[in-house]
C-alpha cells in the first residue's frame, strides 16, 4: 500500500461564520476571507506538502471552488509549485474535474507540462467532480457523464498522439488542430485515475484499466472494488491492489490520545464538507434517477448519511471520531494502532494498493500537521508498503 498525502488547504478561519449561515460553499461571500491570511495559510500548506517528499510519501492534490473548505482552485497550479519543491514523490491530481472544464485540450497541455517539469512523476486523475462544483462552474448537470467521457477520450488522445494535429468534432467539444506541446514523458499517458462510489464506476474503470479511488466510506468502496475485479477477470486480467485507492482521515501520535486528537481535528473537514445550501448539493441530472427517487421520498438530507459496518446510519455533520472510525472514514492512534487498523481494512477490502492520507484538515496546526506527516511517513508508510493482496483474498 502506497501512501499519498493530501490536504484541501482549507480557509478554516471563516468556518464558524459559514456554519452559522448554513453554507460554506457556493453562496458564502468571499468578504469572509482575509486574502493576506489566505496567502499565509497557502504557503504553510505548501510547506507541509514539501515535507512529504522528505519523509518518503507521495502527494495528491484536489480542487474545489467557491468554498471555505478548500482553497486549491487549480490542481495544476498547486502541483506546479509542489513539483519544483519535491524530487521523489509521485504527484497525483485527483483530480481534474473534466466534465466542468470547457477546454479538455488545455487540461491535456497542463498535465503534459507537469509530467515534463516533474521528470515523469505525474499520476493523472480525471474526475466527475462533486455536485456542488456544478454551480461555480455553471456546467450543465444534464448528460454530465457523457461530457466526462468525451473529455476523457479527447485528453488521452491529445496526450498520446505524437503525429498530430488531429481534429475532434464530438457532441460537446470541437477542435481542428489538436497537437499539444510539450507532450508527456510517460507514454502513451501518465497513469490515469478515476473516482467514484458505485459498482458502475468500478466496472467502467476496469474496462480501461484505470486506478479507481473512493473516499471516506469502506461500505461503498468494497462493492466498487469487487465489481472492478470481476470485470477485469471477465476481460482476462487480474486487478491487483495497485488499481484501488481509498481516502481516509488519519491522525497518528506518539500516544493513542494524541493520534485521536489529531484525527478529531482533521475530521472537521468531513463535518463541514456537506454544509452547503440545499439546491447546490443535488443539481438535477447529477445523481442517478434511482438516487433522486430516494431523495424525493426521504428529503434532501439523505445524501449526508453514510452507513457504518454494523449497518447503522451516521450523519457526517455531527459524527464523533469513534463513529467515523466505524465507517472507516478515520484511522487513528499510535503508529501501531493505525498500521493494524489499515492492515485489517486492507484485508476487508481484498487489497487496496493506494491510501490517500488526509493528514491535515481544519484547525490542525502546522506543528501538529508536520508531526502527523513525519510520524506516518517514518513509522506507518514503510510497513504499509509491504501489504499486498491479503491472504484470505488471495486464496479465493
Amino acid at each position: 500500500m502506497r501512501t499519498w498525502y493530501f490536504s484541501e488547504m482549507a480557509y478554516h478561519p471563516a468556518w464558524e461564520k459559514g456554519l452559522a449561515r448554513g453554507s460554506l460553499r457556493v453562496n458564502f461571500p468571499s468578504e469572509n476571507l482575509d486574502p493576506v491570511e489566505a496567502g499565509t495559510l497557502l504557503n504553510r500548506y505548501l510547506d507541509e506538502f514539501a515535507l512529504c517528499d522528505e519523509v518518503g510519501l507521495d502527494i495528491m492534490v484536489n480542487e474545489h471552488h467557491s468554498t471555505a473548505t478548500c482553497m486549491t482552485v487549480s490542481v495544476p497550479m498547486a502541483l506546479s509549485i509542489i513539483a519544483r519543491e519535491t524530487k521523489k514523490a509521485r504527484l497525483l491530481t485527483l483530480g481534474n474535474p473534466i466534465a466542468n472544464r470547457p477546454d479538455p485540450v488545455r487540461v491535456a497541455e497542463e498535465m503534459a507540462w507537469l509530467d515534463c517539469v516533474s521528470g515523469g512523476r505525474l499520476e493523472m486523475g480525471l474526475v466527475k467532480g462533486a455536485p456542488y462544483e456544478i454551480a461555480p462552474a455553471n456546467s450543465n448537470p444534464g448528460r454530465l457523464m457523457r461530457r466526462y467521457w468525451e473529455a476523457h477520450d479527447l485528453i488521452l488522445k491529445a496526450m498520446s498522439t505524437t503525429t498530430g494535429p488531429f481534429s475532434w468534432e464530438g457532441e460537446f467539444f470541437h477542435y481542428r488542430n489538436v497537437n499539444i506541446w510539450p507532450r508527456p514523458i510517460q507514454q502513451p499517458t501518465p497513469p490515469v485515475w478515476m473516482t467514484g462510489m458505485s459498482v458502475e464506476t468500478g466496472t467502467m474503470a476496469a474496462e480501461r484499466g484505470h486506478v479507481v479511488g473512493t473516499l471516506l466510506s469502506g461500505g461503498l468502496a468494497k462493492p466498487m472494488y469487487d465489481a472492478y475485479r470481476k470485470r477485469a477477470r471477465e476481460l482476462g486480467w487480474e486487478a491487483g491492489p495497485d488499481r484501488f485507492a481509498y481516502a481516509a482521515i488519519i491522525g497518528v501520535g506518539k500516544t493513542r490520545e494524541e493520534g485521536l486528537r489529531r484525527a478529531d481535528i482533521i475530521a472537521d473537514y468531513v463535518r463541514t464538507a456537506p454544509v452547503v445550501a440545499e439546491p447546490f448539493n443535488n443539481p438535477p441530472g447529477y445523481n442517478s434517477l434511482g438516487a433522486n427517487v430516494a431523495i424525493l421520498k426521504s428529503g434532501p438530507r439523505a445524501n449526508r448519511i453514510v452507513t457504518d459496518r454494523n449497518g447503522d446510519q451516521i450523519d457526517h455533520r455531527t459524527a464523533t471520531v469513534q463513529q467515523f472510525m466505524d465507517t472507516e472514514t478515520v484511522f487513528a492512534g499510535t503508529p501501531d494502532d493505525v498500521y493494524n487498523q489499515l492492515k485489517a481494512f486492507n484485508a476487508r477490502m481484498g487489497g487496496v494498493g493506494n491510501l490517500l492520507f488526509f493528514g491535515q484538515g481544519g484547525y490542525l496546526s502546522h506543528q501538529d500537521s508536520k508531526e502527523n506527516i513525519a510520524l506516518f511517513g517514518k513509522e506507518v508508510a514503510p510497513r504499509l508498503m509491504e501489504l499486498g493482496v491479503p491472504e484470505t483474498a488471495a486464496a479465493e
Binding site: 450543465n140 444534464g142 438535477p284
Partner: protein, 258 residues
C-alpha cells in the same frame, strides 16, 4: 388517459381531451401535471392536445435530442402530423419559450398564440437576472416565488409511486439539460420575435416571482400583434392556480380570432 404517439422518431406521451378548436398546450418546467383541474377546465372549450416534453412524463428523450430548437421542430412536426389548422398554441413558462421558438419559425398551423409567463428571452443587462434562478434556491423558497398561495403547490412525494417519482426526477433533469446555460433563454430569440405574425396574448399572474410583469412588457414590445393581461391571485402558473380564470381568458382570446 394519455396515449403514445411517435413524432419525428420520438415517442411522446400525449394527453388529448375535449372538443372544438384544437389547442396545443406546451407545459411548464415543472411538468404537465394533468391531474390538476386546469386540463379538464380548458377541455370544456377546446380539443386540448398536451404532450409531455421529451424527457418528461412518459415521453422519450433520445440521445440525439437536447435543445429547445429540437423541441420546437418536433412540435411543428406534431402539428403537421395532427393536421392542425386554425389552432391555438399555448405555452406556459418553459413551454412558452418553446411556443415562441415555434412561432418565429412557422405560424401556419395556428390562428393565435398564448404565452403564459414565458421564459426564453433576455431583456436586462449582464448583471440583471430576468428569470429567477429556480435552481439556486431551496424548493420551499421556489414555491414562494412561483405561487401566490404556496400551500396549493404542495405535492406529498412520500405518497407517490416510484414510477411517478422517477418521472418528476427525470423532468427536472431534462429541464436542466434544455435550459441550464444560457439560463432558460436563447440570447438570439428576442431579435426574431418580430416574425410572430398571429394575434398573441401574454398572460401573467399578478404574483409571479419567477418572471416579472416588466419582463412580460419586454415580450409585448417585440411582438407587434400582442396584448398583455394579468390574472389576479396567481403566481407563475395561472393555469394551475386559477384554472377557471385562465380558461376564461384563453376562451375570450380565441373568440377574437377569425
Amino acid at each position: 388517459m394519455s396515449r403514445h404517439v411517435t413524432v419525428a422518431g420520438v415517442s411522446l406521451e400525449i394527453e388529448e381531451r375535449g372538443q372544438g378548436r384544437p389547442l396545443l398546450f406546451l407545459h411548464a418546467g415543472e411538468g404537465l401535471q394533468p391531474q390538476r383541474p386546469w386540463l379538464d377546465t380548458l377541455a370544456k372549450s377546446f380539443r386540448v392536445i398536451a404532450p409531455h416534453h421529451p424527457g418528461f412524463g412518459g415521453s422519450a428523450l433520445p440521445d440525439w435530442f437536447g435543445t429547445v430548437d429540437d423541441i420546437a421542430y418536433l412540435y411543428l412536426d406534431l402539428a403537421k402530423q395532427f393536421e392542425l389548422d386554425d389552432a391555438l398554441l399555448v405555452g406556459s413558462c418553459f413551454g412558452g419559450w418553446v411556443a415562441a421558438e415555434m412561432a418565429v419559425r412557422n405560424t401556419a398551423p395556428f390562428a393565435g398564440l398564448v404565452l403564459t409567463a414565458p421564459l426564453g428571452i433576455k431583456i436586462g443587462g449582464v448583471l440583471d437576472r430576468d428569470i429567477a434562478d429556480m435552481h439556486g434556491m431551496p424548493r420551499p423558497e421556489f414555491m414562494k416565488f412561483a405561487w401566490a398561495d404556496p400551500t396549493l403547490s404542495t405535492i406529498d412525494y412520500a405518497t407517490l409511486a416510484d414510477t411517478e417519482l422517477a418521472g418528476v426526477a427525470r423532468g427536472r433533469e431534462s429541464l436542466a439539460l434544455f435550459g441550464w446555460k444560457p439560463y432558460m433563454h436563447n440570447p438570439r430569440l428576442r431579435r426574431w420575435l418580430h416574425r410572430i405574425d398571429i394575434p398573441t396574448k401574454l398572460l401573467w399572474g399578478d404574483k409571479d416571482g419567477i418572471v416579472s410583469q416588466a419582463y412580460g412588457q419586454g415580450w409585448q414590445a417585440e411582438i407587434a400583434s400582442s396584448t398583455m393581461e394579468t390574472i389576479a391571485a396567481a403566481g407563475h402558473y395561472p393555469h394551475w392556480e386559477q384554472p377557471q380564470a385562465f380558461a376564461d381568458r384563453v376562451t375570450a382570446f380565441a373568440k377574437t380570432l377569425s
